[in-house]
Each structure stands twice: as C-alpha cells, then as structure tokens.
Amino acid sequence: MGKTKILEEIAEKLADLDSEGLGTLVKEALANGLTPQELIREGLGEGMRIVGERYEGGEYFLSELIMAGVTMDEALDLIRPQMKQGAIEPIGKVVIGTVEGDLHDIGKNIVISMLQSAGFQVNDLGVDVPPTKFVEAVRKEKPDLLCLSTLLSVTMPKVQETIEALKVGGLRKATKVLVGGRCLNGEIAEKMGADGYGRDAWDAVVKAKSLMGLPP
C-alpha cells in the first residue's frame, strides 16, 4: 500500500472507530517507515477532523466523540515508542484545566484529544484548578493558549477570576484565552474578557487555530 493510501485508510479507520483495524494499519505503517509525525498529522489528525465533521453534521453524538478519543489514544500508544523526544514540533502549546470548584472533566478531556490530534502540545492541569495554579503554569510554560473549562454556573465566575489573575500577573497579553463549558456562551465569554469561546470540542480546535492565526 502506498503512503498516501495507508494514511487515508488510517484516517478512515479512526473516523469509523475501528480500533482493531486502526491498530493493524498503524503497525504496518510504522514497519513501512512512515514517521510518527506523518501518522499523527496526516492520519489520525485527518481522522479526528472527519469525526468532528460527523459530529457537527449530527451523524455522531457524544458517545462517538468519546470513543474517537479512546481509539486515538490506543493508536498513539503504538506510535509513542517510535517517537524521539521533541521529534515533532507542535503547532502550538496549550495549558488547559477545569476551573476551581468544578470537577467535570469529560468535555475537557475530549477537547484535549482533539487538540492533540490537531498537533497541539497540551498540558492538562486537571480539575478544580485555582487561578494561582493557572497563572503559575502560564508563567512557567509560556503557552500560546490557555483553555478554561467549566460546566457549572456556580463556578463560572472563576473563569473571569482566572483571566483577571493573568492580567495582574502581567501575562494576559502574551497568552490567548479560550473558554468552554455548559454554562458559557460567546457573549458571556467576551464579557469575561476571554479571546474565544468553543461551543464544543471540535469548535474549540477551530477557534484555537484561528486565535493563533493558523489555517483551519
């Protein structure tokens, strides 16, 4: 099988959530000398793009987004041993977390899978993350993007507090802030001083790229 063909099939197997078929193809591709970078960018990345499209189109639901993340992680487990540290230059660096007081992480975790498949390097701070911890991570890692997640209207004010804390720390200008979660919308996100709002995981990737001036 030619390189283009095998990458196409990898994308297709991931999009169809066929873990077994995907595993076989990934192993074959690695044996044939395809690089981890090609597999991730052009194979898995394309597969996740199709998953996002099917979700947008109403063909896929939350269940399929979750399984796409699981299936991609399984493929990454096969690819990872072949990766040299720093061999892949990420298209952007992201720090992400669920804001203080909120423990919900499923949405955030799907966003992480989607961002990784699109080529972002993601540092996940987990759940119930206080503003000071976000600020600390941003200061240390200098990410291009800070992503804040919250489901609850009770914890929604923590999004704004975190953005304020970035300002106080003198870090706001160098970092774009993208927010998402059940209780938010574009208007609220803007009022809180965020640069963007992702209404779902796929939209978050689109917005992340656009905030960084990258092509969709």
Partner: protein
C-alpha cells in the same frame, strides 16, 4: 376558579385552564428555609443526582427517613405558601429504614446505588464525584436496595396533604442515568457499551429492574404525574447515539412508560440538554410531556409548534443565568417569553429550566410566580 389539581391536569391534557399552572422542580432547602423561616435537614437533600447525608449528630440520630419526612413536610408547606400548583416527591429521598451512606473517607461516601459523593457539611452541599462499580466483579458484588424494604412515608404524607386540591408529581429514575454515575462517568459507560457490551447490558438491566420496582411502589401510593429524570444530553447533542439508545435503553424506557400508562398516569420526560435527535423516538415510545426544553439549547416555541399536540411542555424559565443572576425585569421578561412561546391552547406548565437550586435568588422565584400569575391568565393576550 380551578383548584391547582384541575388547573394542572387540564393543562397536561392539552386544554386551557383558568391560568397557566406554575410549578417549581426541586426546591432547594435553602429556599424552603427562607420562605418559611424553618430549618431543613441534611446536605444534598433532593438535589440533582441524589446524595442525601446527615450533617450533624442530631441528624444522624434522626436517620435519613425521618430527616426527609420533615423536609418533605416543609417543602409541601413552602410550595403551598408560594402559591405553586403542584406538590413533588422524589425517589432520591426514600431509603430503607436505618440506612446510612457508607463513608470511605472523612468527606466521601458511597450511596445505595454505588455512587460516590463528596460532602461539605459546613455549606450542606454534596456532589457526585465517582462510581464504585469499577469492574464486572464489582457489579456482581453490588447489592441493590430492596424496593419492598424502602420507606415511602414521604409519598404517603404528600398524597395525603395534597388531597383533592393539589396534584402530586413523582420524580423517578429509569435506566439511563444511574449506570453512568455508578461507573464513574459517561466516558466509562460509553467505553463499556462499545467494548464490553454484555457488562453494560447487565448493569443497565440491574438498575432498570430496581428502579421499576421503586417506581411501582411510589405509584401505588396515588401520585398523579410521573416525571422520569434521567439526564441524557448535553448542550450540543445526546450522550448516546440513537442507535445505542434503541439497543441498550429504550426497551426499559418503554416498560416504565407502559407501567405508568397502565395506571392512567401521564409520563413526563425530564432531561437537560439537546433532545432533538431522539424527540421522535421519545414520542413514539409514549412520552406525554417534556421538561425543561433547556433554554439556549432547544427552542420552546419550536418544540411547541412541532410537538405541541403530542407533548405537554413544562419549563423553561432560565435557572442557569436569569434566576440566579437576573434582575426583576430579566425574570419577568423570561416568564413572558415562556408563556408567549408555549401556553397557547394549554399543554403548558410554567417552571424553572431544571430546578430551584441553591444559587437561584429566592426573590426571583417570587417574581417568577408573580409574573406567571399576571401574564398567564387564559385567554392569553396574543403576541
């Protein structure tokens, strides 16, 4: 003037009552206390996802059933004082005699359905954090509560207090929510459904069977409307694909709906989020009503237009933004939006868009009811 019961049931049967019925879903004890100046008991009582627990020595000595019975009495009184049109009981608040949740650390406990909660006793809040069913072996070991053993006194009390004047709405659960709470998240149950479907099916069946029996016991006591409140959607789409719903869950949903219909009781489906992908399925399974038609996610006027002849609608004053943070005018405007969208011809009950949770302003509840009464007189003013 109609009694609240006549008003409510007339609306449910798609006719216009004297005025739009007004209801509050779960009324957090904090509101009950403010309205009555009395003290409610326990943490997490009746709140979304269950998780009731004693917070003081006195409450521990009282036991959960006694605590819930006192809370129920207060809630019924608060609802009547507010001038609402229905009383409500919830399967979250019934327990076997002497039952207490099992603490696995100072602030973390496992409940009857192997769900793990955390509690902050100082602010009387509990929240779900995980599930105790980590493997097929855990499922085999899990002993569900015995529905025959459970103490249903809160239902008896409420039916008696309601008399002929108030309808009693029973909030119950089926098979679609507890399994993912017991497994520790939707992601875990979705994994099971895809990768170990026999385990998923066994878990779902075990929950469906227990909840059906608990529901039957509650219905036996003479309630008027059933509200099944398994949450199955997020703000973008449903948790599961329609294919998964049809294979894993809908047979049990059908069984529960049929049980209610056999007794002549209307069946209302509650779920937050976007239910559009399965609305036709729900209607064909026999669902009679829908709550809350989440604002900014589904459109009340659109659902009324497309499903208004088949479903009575209950909702959807925004309890995410408007009721907690809105001004008086914001609340009044939102009430008028609901009535304009869905009240024409009956088939509509004005209520919150999920619950009167603790972050809602108590005064906004009063404003909602006031505006509902002023603006909701039939015949309605048109547009």
């Amino acid at each position: 003037m109609m009694t609240p019961k006549e008003r409510y049931l007339t609306a449910i049967h798609h006719r216009e009552p004297d005025m739009v019925p007004i209801d509050a879903s779960f009324l957090d004890p904090i509101h009950v206390e403010r309205i009555l100046g009395a003290t409610a008991f326990g943490a997490g009582a009746g709140g979304g996802g269950g998780g009731v627990v004693a917070t003081t020595r006195k409450e521990e000595a009282m036991g959960l059933n006694e605590m819930m019975l006192r809370n129920q009495k207060l809630e019924n009184e608060a609802k009547r004082k507010l001038g609402l049109d229905a009383l409500t009981v919830s399967d979250y608040n019934v327990f076997p005699p002497g039952y207490n949740p099992r603490f696995i650390s100072e602030d973390t406990y496992v409940d009857l359905f192997a769900r793990i909660y955390r509690v902050r006793k100082d602010v009387r809040t509990t929240w779900w954090i995980d599930g105790a069913i980590k493997s097929p072996e855990d499922l085999d070991k899990w002993e569900p509560p015995d529905p025959d053993e459970i103490d249903y006194s809160i239902v008896d009390l409420t039916v008696e207090e309601a008399g002929d004047e108030y309808p009693v709405m029973a909030w119950v659960h089926g098979s679609m929510m507890f399994p993912y709470l017991m497994r520790g998240g939707i992601d875990k149950l979705v994994y099971d459904i895809y990768r170990q479907p026999d385990f998923a099916k066994k878990l779902i069946k075990k929950v469906a069977d227990v909840n059906l029996e608990i529901t039957k016991h509650i219905l036996d006591r003479g309630v008027d409307v059933v509200a099944e409140s398994d949450d199955i959607a997020d703000s973008r789409t449903t948790f599961f694909s329609p294919k998964i719903f049809r294979e894993f869950f809908f047979p049990y949903l059908k069984r529960l709906i049929d049980e209610c219909h056999r007794r002549g009781l209307p069946y209302m489906k509650h779920s937050d989020g976007n239910l559009y992908p399965i609305l036709d399925d729900l209607v064909s399974l026999g669902v009679d009503g829908l709550h809350p038609i989440e604002p900014n996610v589904m459109d009340l006027a659109d659902v009324k237009q497309r499903y208004g002849d088949k479903l009575f609608l209950r909702g959807n004053v925004d309890c995410t933004h408007v009721l907690p943070y809105g001004t008086e005018e914001d609340v009044r405007k939102d009430v008028r939006r609901c009535i304009d969208a869905a009240a024409q011809g009956g088939g509509f009950i004005l209520a919150d868009s999920n619950s009167m949770h603790s972050n809602v302003k108590t005064e906004n509840i009063l404003i909602m009811i006031d505006e509902g009464r002023k603006y909701g007189k039939y015949p309605l003013r048109r547009g």
